[in-house]
């Protein structure tokens, strides 16, 4: 009993939980900035720069504006952080995961919205009109990527389940071990591409950072945040990078299990780095920010088409 609790605590606090997620998330954010700089022929910040940013923000004052609702303003970033960590506990690291037996695609889909909602509620609670515009854009972004995301999830579920309902993430990973990784099945390649395009919008990196466009609406929902809550939000963005890429790995590259947890974790981290560079850094380096209506159009036409193609192909059983 005691050992079980200790093990669970270890899961929650250290390995797939808080510490691991935070460390890898910050690492990914650092790599993203470094590689982005190199793509622009710059030297770029040190890889630990997000850690510096985080600690710096912790040391700053937190000013709560007059118009803000204090409770919601301070609670929002913490709720976002906690739900991201909990979400990571549900995502399998190949065959291993603390609570992956209880992970379910729909649950993951909905847990993924909580950080976004936290950002929106926090921004809204700050009372700034810029934040008002920011949350509107954040919400439209959310609506934009949710459609392709659910199509991707459904095609993966159909592929793994056949004629039975299969929403369990660990079942999907197990199916991939038995067969091949999802990405190796040609029908799912459009879905994988769609998912890769969904990741940057979910994380909110350029060109899909319309919600936090610092040059036009002064960081949108984050406008009135300073100090520790802002640090939490910046951390959340870093965590989202890791969680989304890890979800991609679980959904599409789940079939390469080595049997050793530490090695699996290492492979996961490496894959996450590759994915981050591929779908966030590279797109960031070569594009400029979209307008919100173009972003919506992009997701509901191009990305949705990709995902639908996959769903239809899988459905036809090709």
């Amino acid at each position: 009993m005691g050992i079980t609790i200790l093990r669970l605590l270890f899961y929650v606090l250290i390995f797939p939980g808080c510490l691991f997620v935070t460390a890898i998330g910050l690492l990914l954010a650092g790599i993203d900035r470094k590689v982005l700089a190199r793509m622009q022929r710059r030297v770029g910040p040190p890889i630990v720069q997000p850690v510096y940013d985080f600690f710096k923000l912790l040391g700053k004052e937190t000013i709560i504006p007059h118009a803000a609702n204090k409770t919601a303003f301070l609670a929002a970033p913490v709720v976002g952080f906690v739900s991201l960590v909990v979400l990571m506990l549900f995502i399998p690291v190949f065959s291993f995961s603390a609570f992956s037996g209880r992970a379910d695609l729909i649950v993951v889909l909905y847990l993924l919205t909580i950080p976004g909602v936290a950002l929106i509620v926090g921004g809204s609670a700050s009372g700034s009109p810029y934040a008002g515009i920011g949350i509107s854009r954040e919400m439209v972004t959310m609506m934009a990527y949710e459609l392709p995301l659910i199509l991707v999830l459904l095609s993966v579920a159909k592929m793994a389940g056949g004629s039975a309902l299969c929403f369990s993430l660990s079942d999907i990973v197990a199916w991939q071990e038995a067969h091949h990784s999802m990405i190796a099945h040609w029908q799912l390649i459009p879905a994988a591409v769609a998912m890769l395009l969904v990741i940057p919008a979910e994380v909110g990196t350029q060109p899909f950072d319309v919600a936090e466009a610092e040059t036009e609406i002064c960081e949108g929902p984050l406008i009135e945040y300073s100090g520790a809550p802002l640090a939490m939000f910046k951390l959340n963005t870093a965590l989202k990078m890791f969680v989304m890429t890890a979800l991609f790995v679980a959904l599409f590259i789940g079939g390469i299990d080595t049997g050793i947890v530490a090695l699996n974790a290492l492979i996961l981290v490496l894959l996450c780095i590759v994915l981050t560079v591929l779908c966030m850094t590279l797109i960031h380096a070569v594009t400029a920010r979209l307008k919100i209506e173009h972003l919506f159009q992009f997701y509901w036409t191009f990305v949705t088409t990709l995902a639908t193609v996959s769903l239809v192909l899988v459905w036809l059983g090709l």
Partner: protein, 148 residues
């Protein structure tokens, strides 16, 4: 527990908020040039912030016109501590060629404490980097002083 880490990080991750108070745009361009690949101030963690609430260093350019003075001071007030004020170019320090004009209320020093002055009209990007770097060091010291 994190005191040292925070003080060190404060010096290593200064975010800049730039206010133009009627500048001719020369200094503004040079400030942006600092972030280009050639000079790349991001090496030291510099980043342009979109709002004063995120800023550590406020860079002021321009001769503080009467219209902008009130807005400048209001914005400066909204920056959380520890913060540094850096003037870039001659204008905010003295008014430069505009001094004595009915609409210029130049020396910034009479309203707030200026931590670093970067002279030049306009300063070379290298000078701007130097000035910002110095401001970042001051920032770290200010944070350490807050610990005591």
């Amino acid at each position: 527990m994190f005191k040292k880490m925070i003080a060190k990080s404060t010096a290593k991750s200064p975010w800049i908020y730039h206010i133009n108070t009627g500048s001719c745009n020369g200094c503004d361009i040079e400030l942006v040039a600092v972030l280009t690949p050639r000079y790349d101030a991001e090496r030291f963690g510099f980043k342009l912030a979109g709002t004063p609430r995120h800023a550590d260093i406020v860079v002021v350019s321009g001769p503080i016109t009467s219209q902008s003075k009130e807005r400048l001071l209001r914005t400066l007030e909204q920056v959380p501590e520890p913060k540094c004020v850096v003037t870039i170019g001659s204008c905010p320090q003295s008014g430069n060629v505009f001094k004595g004009s009915y609409s210029v209320e130049a020396p910034l020093e009479q309203y707030v404490h200026v931590d670093v002055a970067i002279a030049g009209c306009t300063p070379k990007p290298e000078a701007v980097i130097e000035g910002l770097y110095k401001a970042a060091e001051i920032l770290g010291k200010k944070r350490e002083a807050m610990n005591q």
